[in-house]
Amino acid sequence: MIRNSASQMAAKLASGETTSVALTQAHLDQIKAVDDKVHAFLFVDKKGALEQAAQVDAKRAKGEKLLPLAGVPLALKDVLAQKNKPTTCGSKILEGWLPPYDSTVVANLKKNDIIILGKTNMDEFAMGSSTENSAYGPTHNPWDLSRIPGGSGGGSSAALASFEAPLAIGTDTGGSIRQPAAVTGTVGVKPTYGGVSRYGLVAFSSSLDQAGPCARTVLDTALLHEAIAGYDPKDATSINAPIPQVVKAAKEANVKGMKIGVVKELNGDGYQPGVRARFEEALELLAKAGAEIVEVSAPNFEYALAAYYLIAPSEASSNLARFDAMRYGLRVGDIDGASAESVMNLTREVGFGKEVKRRIILGTYALSSGYYDAYYGSAQKVRTLITQDFTQAFTKADVLVSPTCPTTAFKIGEKANDPLAMYLNDIATIPVNMAGIGGMSLPAGLADEDGLPVGFQIMSPVMKDERMYSVGGALEAALLSKWGAPLLDRAPKLEASK
């Protein structure tokens, strides 16, 4: 049952073939069986999940009208506040903190009666592409436990790929939903910036962060997308417009007459041959399904990575200032006679990991007087140019496509001491965040050279998120008929621990 899609589970719940309690228990059992190997979860809320499941079953028994995903379990990235549940952001500095409030995403999940199984591992404060920067140890890729599951949301993608959960929430600042989806053979969507409320999403880079849905199929992702999206007056950057009709688009999966633009700059040199091969095949399938493939150019994308690594750390240096030991979280050095300043310093020294400190220092420097114009100011100009590149490209194509990442999953530890190599992994995903548009990654197959999943990225204009679901749905269907079974069926089976 746990290998079903969320939609299949929802159908079984609706028909009475199973209950939410049984379904939740099955996933808790799977977590118990495999998570000591995968380490997708930082916190498993066994009691809370079962209680919530029982409530949903009771509602269903009473004949209440329930929403489509009611009773289906989900894994929540540990960067979203959930009332009275540990929320660490993968950092020591928030160890033990229990939020007194629900993020809007969590409130929406509860409103949809989606069962929250627990909190998933992540790079500390979502800074990283491998989940190795978690203060609580790395997560392992279910396809090959010696490899990374992507990051920052490696816990969520690994939970999906190891059948610990059929649905997951991620957040994406530079690719943290899409790159983990790509390297684990799952689906992940970064909605249009402002499409899903950021209220209660612990900020890394406010102008880039966006929560989004993750699942094993395009339709499941769409269902979750509609469940969590929508205008929120508590988030000033939230878009006050109807939610794009992504479920309808995913179901219709129609690309006939659509123009699909291949971004010239996001391919070629630096992309692994197996990645390029799967990408080209996917294009052929889409063409066969009736889409027109065109080439577009985005000349300023080559500056995206550099600009991103000025903007994101700048905002982070300010966003992370609140972790000062005064009101919540870790407090170090609070001995008699210690000053507030020394407690703040010690707490931040002990509480933050290396990558977080690196970015705080980088951001502080980029915002300093005398350097602001050269760094933060120039980066913002680049951002405008990237947005213009997209606007231009979208006059030629309805959606844009590229490989999600240049490579398949690398080995744990392989790039840990080379931050620049690590940053390069996000080269194709970052422009989407810079422009605030939508982006999806879905599995395109396995690379021939290493047998690991390859991600296919679809990008859609602001609030036209339904377009990536049309394309994603069509590609998924074409690939499935080619493969005869879901890609994840080819992943090695995880041995349950004794």
Binding site: L80, A81, T87, C89, L94, W97, P99, P100, Y101, S103, R198, Y199, G200, L201, V202, A203, S205, S206, S207, P233, K234, D235, A236, T237, S314, E315, S317, S318, A321, R322, F323, D324, M326, R327, Y328, S339, A340, E341, M344, T364, L367, S368, S369, Y372, Y376
Partner: protein
């Protein structure tokens, strides 16, 4: 070698710069829905947003924007069609986010002015104070540093933090440099803050209580030799909590700077704290090494782009400028300057005007509010506005007196009754059975009785010694329990005694 003020202004020209912080009186905070009641239990008016819990986001209070635009318009500013909030980054325990959301290089209102008039040796003189900008920001929490000698964080045994104030909307009004005030600099500074306070009060956007900190002034002062072009080094004096202190702080700083300069020293650019008791300032933190606040546009908020039609609507709704209104009322009511000042100080101008608009004679209206009613408010130690008597009540009482249905003395009883909650004036009159005895027959009976009792005095009056009538009138009034109209009594009495 203490200098006199005259010595200072004979040699130096002061240049002022004034920064006024105003707490808006919105019901909720700048970026969250928390209440803003002054004096509430510590940390009871807080939420995830103003405590900067992880994940919480600010949302701009539209009412605060409206108030700020009104202020800008009242100060003759242009309203920016596009302005933004920025983050001002620095660490301090009373600032939950460790950055303050403020406006930086894109403020909402720019380029205004305020005209003030002060008395000079050559009579009244007008000074124009140019306003550089009006911008919005949020207040910090309050820290109380316990133990230690200075009451500051350094050396304190422990500190208590109250975040109720964190996030209260603040508007900062910054002047351009103000040269050319010469020896009147202290008075001009005071007059500016007073005018600003009156304007803000008339707009209804702030409580403008300097003693509670809802209006705070930082006074920048520098000196240059008379005729010099370049500006001297300035000091910035904070903690100036009354209009009088504004004047004293500027004067004190002028003298301190001059003494330093005359002795060949130099003024240090720094923040100074005004000491209410001594009128002097003490050194705060030095600004020689300017702190780097790493300002950048606040990414959690969208730009403020007020609609032009909305701005025009707010402009059309602006109240009359207080200084103009004051002059108009003073002329219309023919009130001497001193009385006018008394009304302003007692904060009864609005109430008196309302009473007059309801038909009361200005002099009567003024004397009721400033006299009897103020006295009762004082006795009860509450604000006049909080007494249970309205301009309508007072207008009614004045009308009753005019109609001869009440004497002044009786009217005071009615005022008392209304304040005591006994109802409208007519109800108090009815309940207490207050009425003027204007039945001539009853009055004559009392007059005859009194004249018989005080025959000797009556004789004196009859003989033409009119002043003696006073005692008789008093006795008649007593006889009628104060309910008679004294003028009528006098008329009847004199007639009775052949005068």
């Amino acid at each position: 070698m203490s200098l006199t003020y005259d010595d200072v202004v004979a040699k130096y020209e002061p240049v002022l710069g004034l920064e006024v912080h105003v707490e808006l009186n919105t019901e909720s905070k700048m970026f969250c829905g928390c209440a803003t009641v002054f004096g509430a239990e510590p940390n009871t008016q807080t939420c995830p947003v103003c405590l900067a819990l992880p994940g919480a986001l600010p949302v701009v209070n539209e009412k605060a924007i409206e108030s700020t635009i009104k202020i800008g318009l009242a100060l003759n500013c242009s309203i920016a069609p596009f302005s933004r909030f920025a983050r001002k980054n620095y660490f301090y325990p009373d600032m939950p986010k460790n950055f303050q959301i403020s406006q930086y290089d894109e403020p909402i209102c720019v380029d205004g002015y305020v005209d003030v008039e002060i008395e000079t040796d050559e009579g009244p003189k007008k000074f124009r104070i140019e306003v550089e900008r009006v911008h919005m920001e949020e207040d910090t929490g309050k820290s109380l540093h316990v133990g230690g000698a200075t009451g500051r964080i350094h050396g304190a045994e422990y500190s208590l933090l109250d975040y109720n104030r964190a996030g209260i909307p603040l508007v900062e009004i910054v002047t351009k440099i103000v040269p050319g005030t010469g020896k009147y600099a202290p008075e001009v500074a005071k007059a500016y803050v007073a005018e600003l306070r009156d304007i803000l009060r008339s707009l209804g956007v702030s409580d403008v209580k300097m003693e509670q900190g809802s209006l705070r002034c930082d006074a920048n002062v520098s000196l240059r030799l008379i005729g010099a072009e370049t500006l001297g080094t300035r000091s910035e004096t904070k903690n100036v909590n009354s209009l009088r202190s504004v004047e004293r702080a500027v004067r004190g700083e002028m003298i301190r700077h001059a003494e330093l300069l005359n002795a060949g020293g130099r003024v240090v650019q720094e923040t100074r704290h005004f000491q209410e008791e001594s009128g002097l300032t003490r050194s705060g933190r030095s600004k020689e090494q300017a702190e780097d606040y790493r300002y950048f546009p606040e990414p959690d908020l969208v730009p403020v782009e007020p609609d032009a039609a909305w701005i025009e609507k707010l402009r059309a709704g602006l109240p009359e400028r207080p200084s103009i209104r004051r002059k108009r009322l003073q002329e219309a009511w023919a009130v001497p300057e001193k009385e006018m000042a008394a009304m302003i100080n007692a904060d009864v101008l609005d109430i008196v005007e309302e009473t007059v608009l309801l038909g009361a004679d200005p002099t009567k209206a003024r004397s009721w509010w400033l006299g009897e009613i103020s006295r009762i408010a004082n006795d009860k130690d509450i604000a006049i506005a909080d007494l249970a008597i309205t301009p309508k009540d007072v207008a009614e009482i004045v009308a009753l007196v005019n109609a001869g249905e009440l004497t002044d003395k009786l009217a005071r009883q009615v005022v008392e009754g209304v304040i005591a909650g006994e109802g409208k004036p007519s109800e108090v009159v009815a309940k207490r059975g207050i009425k003027v005895v204007n039945d001539d027959g009853a009055l004559m009976a009392a007059i005859e009785k009194v004249c018989a009792e005080q025959a000797e005095t009556a004789e004196k009056v009859r003989a033409g010694h009119i002043p003696a009538a006073g005692a008789l009138i008093g006795a008649v009034m007593k006889e009628t329990k104060g309910q008679a109209d004294a003028a009528r009594v006098r008329e009847l009495l004199l007639g009775h005694l052949g005068q």
